[in-house]
């Protein structure tokens, strides 16, 4: 039996079960739909309403305008990642899940694969529609997906939202409750950078700040597009690793 088969044979039923879990809870579907539509809609609106640089010479980057609504997608991605996990912990359902799949690493792998896969799909849609549609709506001020860095930004948006969702899910496994999870994630992702200021070198290494470099056709920070995304992947791996270790060790 090959290595792939030895993982896929036990993993396949877990993937089907985790997909059925997400499909059957409306709150999870709502979070995913918000991820899909929230940032795309606002970004397209922002591009459609743009009427050129006002007054003095503006440093206008059309591709970045396509991600105007991304903060809404970010919040939805964090909520989706947290809810997928905590909807199971909030009423003891995790014991049912662990009794059905006692190999805890396998259960977590299945859950994260389905969750991350959905976020990636929604994120790629968001990225491609935001950039493709947004640039068309910008008209004379816009460019297109063939412009340097534009396609990279669109695909990077998918990876960025997937990593954000996995970071949120890993954190939620670690702390088990939605309040504690958001108590860590909201300051880390949404409060630290605006309060401290994005000029700080340290702030540029925060998960969202580092990951968003890929949305810039010409990244201007310390980190480049892909190195920034790699730093964010490191954050997600840290959260998933910490959550996974805690799940393996503690009593359910």
């Amino acid at each position: 039996m090959s290595a792939t088969q030895s993982v896929m044979r036990p993993l396949a039923p877990v993937l089907r079960s985790e997909w059925a879990k997400i499909r059957s809870v409306r709150a999870l579907q709502a979070a995913l739909l918000a991820l899909l539509l929230g940032s795309t809609g606002i970004s397209l609106l922002a591009c459609g309403l743009y009427d050129g640089p006002g007054g003095a010479a503006e440093d206008f980057e059309p591709v970045l305008r396509s991600f105007y609504g991304l903060p809404f997608g970010q919040i939805a991605a964090v909520c989706f990642g947290v809810l997928v996990v905590t909807s199971e912990y909030s009423h003891g359902g995790v014991r049912l899940s662990l009794a059905a799949v006692p190999r805890r690493g396998l259960l977590l792998l299945g859950k994260l694969a389905v969750t991350g896969g959905l976020a990636l799909t929604a994120g790629l849609f968001t990225g491609l529609v935001s950039v493709g549609g947004g640039q068309a709506l910008l008209g004379e001020h816009g460019t297109d997906l063939a412009a340097p860095g534009a396609l990279r930004a669109a695909l990077g948006c998918g990876l960025y939202l997937m990593l954000l969702t996995l970071l949120a899910a890993g954190t939620a496994v670690l702390v088990r409750g939605p309040v504690a999870a958001l108590g860590i994630l909201v300051p880390l992702l949404f409060l630290l950078a605006p309060v401290v200021g994005t000029e700080s070198q340290v702030i540029q290494f925060l998960p969202d700040q580092a990951g968003q470099q890929i949305l810039h056709p010409q990244p201007d920070g310390t980190l480049g597009a892909w190195t920034g995304l790699a730093v964010m992947a490191g954050w997600a791996a840290l959260a998933v690793g910490a959550g996974g270790t805690a799940l393996q060790r503690r009593d359910a």
Binding site: P10, P13, V14, R16, S17, A20, K21, S24, V25, R26, A27, S87, E88, H91, G92, G93, R95, L96, S97, L98, A99, A100, V101, P102, R103, D251, A252
Partner: protein, 248 residues
């Protein structure tokens, strides 16, 4: 024939022992009543059997192997630990589907266990509309899903109406008659006397008795009183009850 074997099982939470040096087995073909005051370690023992909690020492085996070593464990042991664990937003059918898929259990089993627990007409209703009794039935349906040779039910009679209590009594008898090992915890002595063949009694995490129903009642019956399981049980656990109202 699969049975549950508990060997020198000890679980401490910090310094507090929940289960201490516990050994007993649950044989196939009969209903074993699992008795003991609140906090005596019945639920802890069940969680340890399922690998949800890790023992401090000792082990619990199903057919000679730990529960967690079975790739599709719901086909080995059906468990009901907590009737409120089903996600309230799912329908009964969706709830059972998530469990069936994880253990490669064919979907036709969902209809079968819903029928066996009297929930066919509630299959498409969301769990948050269920009474406690219906949630118990759904929990039992989930336990039966994998057609397992071993069943472990933690107070399945809670919240059931009189018809439901009679139903579960008959169900337990039939499951044992089919050759399954059935472990059922309960605080209802009158009911337990009607469905159990064998008794395992815990007090403060230790084994107080492991005997057939008749032996147990005969051994612990007081002189000059009508022998009953309730009297025998109360006499035995008098010293081992952790939580008790004063002056009652």
């Amino acid at each position: 024939m699969t049975s549950i074997e508990i060997n020198e099982l000890t679980k401490r939470y910090g310094a507090v022992p929940a289960v201490e040096g516990l050994s007993f087995s649950v044989a196939p073909g009969r209903v074993t009543g699992f008795l003991g005051p609140n906090g005596s370690g019945k639920s802890t023992t069940m969680r340890l059997v399922l690998g949800l909690d890790r023992p401090t020492s000792g082990n619990a085996l199903i057919g000679g192997r730990p529960y967690v070593s079975y790739p599709e464990p719901m086909r080995r042991v059906g468990a009901l630990l907590d009737a409120t664990a089903a996600h309230p937003a799912r329908t009964a059918h969706q709830h059972l589907l998530t469990l069936a898929l994880s253990n490669r259990i064919p979907e036709r089993r969902i209809g079968e266990v819903l029928a066996r627990t009297g929930l066919e007409t509630a299959a498409r209703r969301r769990v948050h509309t269920f009474s406690l009794g219906m949630r118990q039935r759904l929990g039992i349906a989930a336990a039966l899903l994998g057609d397992p040779p071993v069943l472990m039910l933690d107070e399945p009679g809670n919240g059931l109406d009189p018809e439901g209590i009679a139903w579960i009594r008959e169900l337990l008898r039939r499951l044992a008659a089919e050759g399954r090992a059935v472990l059922v915890s309960s605080h209802q002595m009158g009911e337990t006397a009607r469905f159990a063949d064998h008794l395992v009694v815990l007090g403060r995490g230790r084994l107080l008795a492991d005997a057939s129903l008749e032996e147990f009642v005969a051994e612990h019956a007081g002189a000059g009183e009508e022998p009953s399981l309730e009297r025998a049980y109360l006499r035995l656990t008098e010293e081992a009850t952790t939580y008790r109202a004063k002056g009652a």
